[in-house]
Symmetry: C2
Subunit: 357 residues, 2 copies
């Protein structure tokens, strides 16, 4: 087997400095995978020198191990995201494992200063169009595979098709692991709110499940896909059908749990209308050839490929010049800390070795 | 929209010379796509300077257009595949759109001489292990995306997963467009041989459909996947269940059409046995974690993801360290001259611009 390893043709160079922002579920999973790959000798030319969350930061020129982080707080030289580009050596890689709008607003600044960015944070390229444009000017130093489908080969395939001369003629898919799970399970019998509570307990939804149910998370993913397909789409141009009734959308955090029941009646009605004609409900994102983008509940036939997949699987169909009749379909786990962290680390490795494509 | 184009950062360099071998359905489709992309200005730094088939060759230092080829035969300086590495300038790209074993045997020689190769011909990396090894030593200059799934992101995804530190734990899929079509259609009522004749008439099978029905074509694709997954698999190590009864396998070309009926009784029997327990027949390729490889008919439940897809769709499930429970599933048109030619041209563009990953 070792005889089949790709020969390493690249010359040895100085190690690349990596900074990690965010130590929540994704950041922690990244640190665990980092330790694992480091033990296998795969990260020998990378140094994780800075780790920060919203309260603490850790710094070590020689590189941190995951163990360091559980033992000590940052030293006096507190790391500040705004100052990263002055602190890090040129060519360093910043990993954004936060969900912070403020951090996402810095992506283009870091890129302009010569840093590379690997991000699971969708608020950069999936936020305002001006911000996407500022980021996209440095597309080669921006690793975004974790932002849509947690590293499923969606953005990569889309780019490869365009690079090969294809136009993207359409995209449709289930881009939310939690909404995939909910509508795969929902049978019109058990109240929808009960499933939402179950999904939250399993960690499939955000702590506030309204972030999923509002469609805003899916909207950001569709914006990233659409813009990478070549459409200069303003954030407001996406038509979003929220699943949240007004009362639930407005509920205070402490009333949330009981307010969820407002979902039950309207969704039961929609489920039954679909069920009566042998169809199924799925929460889809859709982009057409002209850049028209929509996020919302759709009624599909049971044999529609977008009805397939299980659990939290994402699944996306992609039509292009060469895939006009039958689309390219990509399906798989598109949510969860582990696959997201793996996608982030893939991007880090790619950014550290840009010629080993 | 133009504001979203990827900025071209690469400096202008001398045009890259491209040689095309094979002007059958795939080669012709490639020439058509070449003309189309050339008209869009996408191939301005490539020159198609040599085109050859088994009888003629064309040569023009300034680059050929598709129109040239229909009008004139090659000049006196007949192009000979064996001599390509002495004739072409360093850094040229040879496109193998033949199905010739003799041409595939030259891949490693061209690579060793510093040329790049883009191939739809599976006989190189999917043939003898020694030949795969000789080719793989120059993997970065070998474009093989057209060999499996006609450019579906299979080999690319497999490599990306390994590059990111994953082990490949299993691969299973429908790798033959013609066999996908046949078993998607076959209902146990119409004789299987009638469907085979229909598929041949539609151009889905090889002119001699035994090349598909024997499983040898699928075997080569599985060898390419398995070797790229890291298994040093000898060609003979793949267990292949041929669909051909002995009489049909031995039939002379002129008796082929009537001999096809020998397929009917055994397949009807297998179909009925599966149908009785609510299952379906699919012709699958399978690789396990330890490198055990098998090609043959399998009995699947109707909701198995490998039962999905329509027409000639390929579909492949891939399990790896990060996709342990739910696989990554990739489905789409995996056969046909157009998608194969597009995949070849993708590889040509990638080989011409290796840093624009």
């Amino acid at each position: 087997v070792s005889a089949l390893r790709k020969p390493t043709e690249s010359p040895r160079t100085a190690p690349v400095t990596v900074a990690l922002l965010g130590t929540g579920t994704v950041g922690s999973a990244l640190l665990a995978r980092w330790s694992h790959l480091q033990a296998e000798g795969r990260l020998s030319d990378l140094r994780l020198c800075y780790v920060a969350n919203s309260r603490y930061s850790w710094r070590a020129r020689a590189g941190l191990g995951a163990a360091d982080l559980s033992l000590q707080r940052g030293d006096a030289d507190t790391l500040c995201a705004e100052r990263l580009s002055t602190v890090l050596p040129a060519g360093s890689i910043v990993v954004d494992a936060t969900a912070s709008d403020a951090v996402a607003a810095l992506h283009s600044r870091w890129l302009a200063a010569g840093l590379a960015v690997a991000t699971a944070n969708k608020a950069g390229a999936g936020g305002e169009l001006w911000n996407f444009r500022a980021i996209h000017a440095h597309a080669r130093r921006y690793g975004d595979s974790a932002t849509v489908g947690a590293g499923l080969p969606l953005l990569r395939s889309l780019r490869e098709l365009r690079r090969g001369g294809d136009r993207i003629l359409g995209i449709a898919g289930v881009l939310s692991g939690s909404l995939a799970w909910l509508f795969d399970r929902y049978d019109g019998m058990r109240p929808f709110s009960v499933l939402v509570r179950e999904a939250r307990a399993l960690g499939y939804t955000e702590p506030d499940p309204r972030l999923d149910l509002s469609g805003q998370d899916v909207k950001r993913k569709l914006l990233i896909l659409a813009r990478n397909a070549g459409h200069a789409l303003e954030a407001e141009a996406v038509e979003v059908e929220s699943l949240l009734p007004a009362d639930l959308a407005a509920a205070a955090p402490e009333d949330l749990d009981s307010a969820l029941s407002a979902l039950d009646a309207p969704l039961r009605k929609r489920f039954r209308a679909a069920h009566r004609i042998g169809r199924r409900l799925r929460f889809l994102a859709r982009l057409d050839e002209h850049g028209k983008a929509r996020v919302g509940l759709e009624v599909l036939t049971a044999d529609d490929p977008l009805c397939a997949g299980r659990g939290c699987d994402n699944r996306v169909a992609l039509w292009s010049s060469r895939y006009r009749q039958q689309p390219l379909l990509i399906q798989g786990p598109g949510a969860g800390a582990e696959v997201t962290a793996a996608a982030l680390l893939d991007d880090v490795l790619r950014l550290a070795h840009p010629t080993e494509a």
